[in-house]
């Protein structure tokens, strides 16, 4: 073995150690900060450990089917569910295009007396893309199944 190849091998070793150290440290940091990095809390997390009424946080899940109630003006009430628990959300303001029953939603606000008072509503959409005509045709035949899992036939 020449001197050059020894040097080269040393460099490969250093790179390998550096890569392992980077992966480990970012995994540890990511795990430790997971609550801060996660954008929202699920209804189950909120029900199990209710935050103080003064704390502002985000809650996310699906808008429960049949729970959407439009009050007078721009006020709406609905329940956010993760399939396990559900939390009632109240909001006054303009809703994004994708908002609707069975759709993903992320709300920012406070949780007090069992009601989540939202000050901002974001819609969360899934990774599915389909042409409108196809979905309409499937719905007409009554065989359209929502990709999220719930049957959605008309």
């Amino acid at each position: 073995m020449s001197l050059m190849s020894l040097k080269k091998r040393r460099r490969v070793q250093i790179i390998a150690i550096a890569a392992v150290a980077l992966v480990l440290s970012s995994a540890i940091i990511g795990y430790a900060l997971r609550d801060g990095i996660n954008y929202f809390r699920s209804p189950t997390q909120v029900v199990e450990a209710p935050p103080a009424p003064s704390e502002t946080f985000r809650i996310g899940g699906l808008v429960e089917e049949g729970s959407l109630v439009r009050d007078q003006g721009e006020t709406v009430k609905f329940r956010v569910t993760d399939g396990n628990e559900a939390v009632t959300v109240q909001y006054t303001g303009v809703l994004p295009d994708l908002f609707g029953e069975g759709q993903g939603v992320v709300a920012l606000g406070r949780y007090a007396n069992g009601v989540f008072e939202a000050t901002e509503i974001l819609a969360k959409h899934d990774e599915n893309y389909m042409p409108k005509e196809v979905v309409d045709a499937l719905k007409e035949q009554g065989i359209y199944v929502d990709p999220n899992g719930q049957a959605n036939g008309s």
Partner: protein
Amino acid sequence: MSIWEYANPKRFMQTSGVLLPWVGWAAAICLVVGLGWGFFLTPEDYKQGSTVKIIYVHVPAALMAINAWFMMLVTSLIWIVRRHHVSALAAKAAAPVGATFTLVALITGAVWGQPMWGTWWAWDPRLTSFLILFLFYLGYIALWEAIENPDTAADLTSILCLVGSVFAVLSRYAVLFWNQGLHQGASLSMDRQEHVADVFYQPLLISIAGFVLLFVALVLLRTRTEIRRRRMTALLARERLA
């Protein structure tokens, strides 16, 4: 014949000179066909309407923004281990191209997020790591400019590239690590394509091919420029000594 022969600058200049026009034209054709098909000849999405057409720019740009960093990582590691100058220059040449793709993905993402999510920007794990990747690109370019000695600059930027890879990986896989974010999961994957209907999928694949070819063409072109620039510096230095 070994692949390392292309590490010889003369050999690289010859081969890339022949390849460049072909790659360039192929990129132009794919982009025109893919984007034209996507923008004008596809139906509306069942939820998003015509806003879905941003996908033909957003997805390929984001994909290449991350792939460009991985390409820089590979060439940087080749530089550290084997000391081929062409490899280091290829990494240097790719950085501004990757940074531009990142910026394009950030801007189209904001334009898409405003009507669909209801916000331009959210501190979601995927979005945040992508923004950090963009800052890494800027830092990488600045570091190359800041150091006078080309070999030292190549060494230090290679290490910066290795560290930045954390955020390249995170922005692609953050959805898997932290599942409570605003950005949806991957629509495209190798094994299944049922998330995206075929009418959207075909033009999307063509525009992804266009972005890949465009990246290759720009990197070849810019690497050639870097090699010529370095030759000029060497010639000027020799002249000053004479």
